[in-house]
Symmetry: C2
Subunit: 312 residues, 2 copies
């Protein structure tokens, strides 16, 4: 019976989502975007949607960015290994906890330097989903469009947050979902996404993990892992889709629904391309740097839940 349900569910998935993520060679009309993707909660990659952005050529030159933001204090996220918002061994128990990065207010040129030339003991990542592009990075606003016009028209609103992401090949984002409609425009380098539809939630082994945070000491260059007090629990996927080769078998045994089921959609979004990531899709993200030595992306999002949050 379970096998039958599973094969039906695979069939439904294949019929509704296909086996690859659609690639559009030019921006869709608002109607196409809404009808063929948003309404169907179906991702796609769009080429030639941001070719006119000055950012595409300007941001590959680190000195341009460093000059534009020479006196900007930005929120730099620091971890020992590039894994923020991820599961790590609990400092005092034989279990896992959910760790967030140490956030260090840093002058932008210094932050960029740490990202482009990572020291051996830390990984720096500029990543915040708090509308940072329109606040911390407002000097760069004229290098991009304020919104993606066909998407705004399709969704009937302007983005609620626009964020900038600057990282290197060491930073990874573990599997999670957001309740945003998300347009992810890569400006420099490449982003590698693993995507699973919301219906695959049962394969993600979501559990509650105690929240922790890295605390970085600039004096001795060491990270301390601090579990939040009072305890707070975060629901998070237990699955690491890219385990070390040596532990793959063990991980498969622990998470058979993930490892023995259909593979996630694997997409690489290159500089100049935009990924539409529908709300509630699970995504895991890695990145490769571009010419300037880092991966840069701008994302536009609309919170699907904002209405309910406001009411609650």
């Amino acid at each position: 019976m379970e096998g039958k349900v599973e094969s039906l569910w695979e069939e439904v998935r294949e019929l509704t989502l296909g086996t690859t993520v659609d690639r559009l060679r030019s921006p869709p009309t608002p109607l196409q975007f809404l009808r063929d993707f948003v309404s169907q909660n179906k991702p796609c990659i769009i080429s030639n949607a941001i070719s006119h952005w000055p950012a595409l050529s300007l941001w590959s030159t680190p000195s341009y960015l460093a000059t534009a933001l020479s006196s900007s204090l930005v929120s730099l996220h620091l971890t020992p290994d590039g894994q923020a918002d991820a599961l790590v061994p609990h400092p005092s128990q034989s279990s896992l906890c959910f760790v967030s990065a140490h956030v260090q207010p840093t002058l932008f040129p210094q932050a960029l330097d740490l990202i482009r030339r990572p020291p051996s003991h830390l990984v720096a990542y500029l990543q915040q989903q708090n509308d940072c592009f329109r606040t911390e990075y407002s000097e760069l606003e004229s290098d991009c469009d304020a919104h993606i016009p066909w998407a705004s028209e399709a969704l009937g609103c302007l983005p609620e947050a626009v964020n900038l992401w600057i990282g290197n090949h060491l930073s990874q984002t573990s599997f999670h979902k957001d309740h945003y409609e998300n347009l992810y425009a890569v400006v420099s380098g490449e982003k590698h996404f693993l995507l699973l539809p919301p219906t695959d939630v049962h394969r993600m082994y979501i559990k509650e993990y105690p929240a922790a945070r890295y605390s970085y000491s600039q004096e001795n260059g060491e990270f301390r892992l601090e579990v939040e007090e009072p305890e707070r629990y975060v629901p998070w996927s237990s699955v690491d889709p890219c385990p070390a080769r040596a532990s793959l078998k063990q991980e498969s045994l622990k998470f058979p629904l993930y490892f023995n089921g259909p593979k996630p959609f694997e997409v690489t979004v290159k500089a100049g391309e935009v990924l539409y990531l529908p709300s509630m899709w699970f995504h895991h993200v890695r990145q490769s740097p571009g010419d300037g030595g880092c991966t840069i992306a701008v994302n536009y999002c609309k919170d699907e839940m904002i209405f309910f949050v406001a009411l609650a």
Copy 2:
């Protein structure tokens, strides 16, 4: 607590749906229709969308219809009281059953006559949701458009069924929901809808009722109520929103969530107007005849579930 949840739920309803059904003075663009109504599962009434249909003037003349369909055999639905697909006392138990009409293949001119000049012992209704307009009534096809262009473009497909409805003021349709996206174009007379969103399902007191059917004998002009053998059960709303005045209090006691909660949206769709009835909305329908002595409507629908039905 229950009171709080209920007031929150009323608030959400009012904020998302408003207090009245939107009226558009002209057809929306496909994008507007998809974004502002279909995507939000929100009904609307559209004026001036079918003004160009020859049907609007032609069908008010009964002789035109009788001539066009002079030799057409159509499926006439007969009930003693205009209540088909409704709950009536079970013939052998002290409970209710779900009764369908007697279906009598009838020459169209004779059917139309029975609808326009109802005899005292029966109510006739031409109502089938089996694409009948393109089959039984194909002679009338050139009087209407084959589809509603802005809706087809929004939904990305042509209608899966187009149906014709001809009835009189005695026919009512009890509260139910369909899994169709539905566009209901009134050509003659008026249709009076009570509408409740899918989230109000808990107020509908849906129970399983044994299926029955009227059997009409032309010889003695009597209806017999026959419960289906083997027994089959149909989930149906127990609520009659328009009870006789004498039984209102009793009905309110039996169905307090319906009668004490927010009133359904009440809309009248006049000749020349189109109602967009989103899938899964509960609707109750009454009608008033137009000049030709009957109410005529054409509806276009797209089965939301067809994909899953095909797989099951």
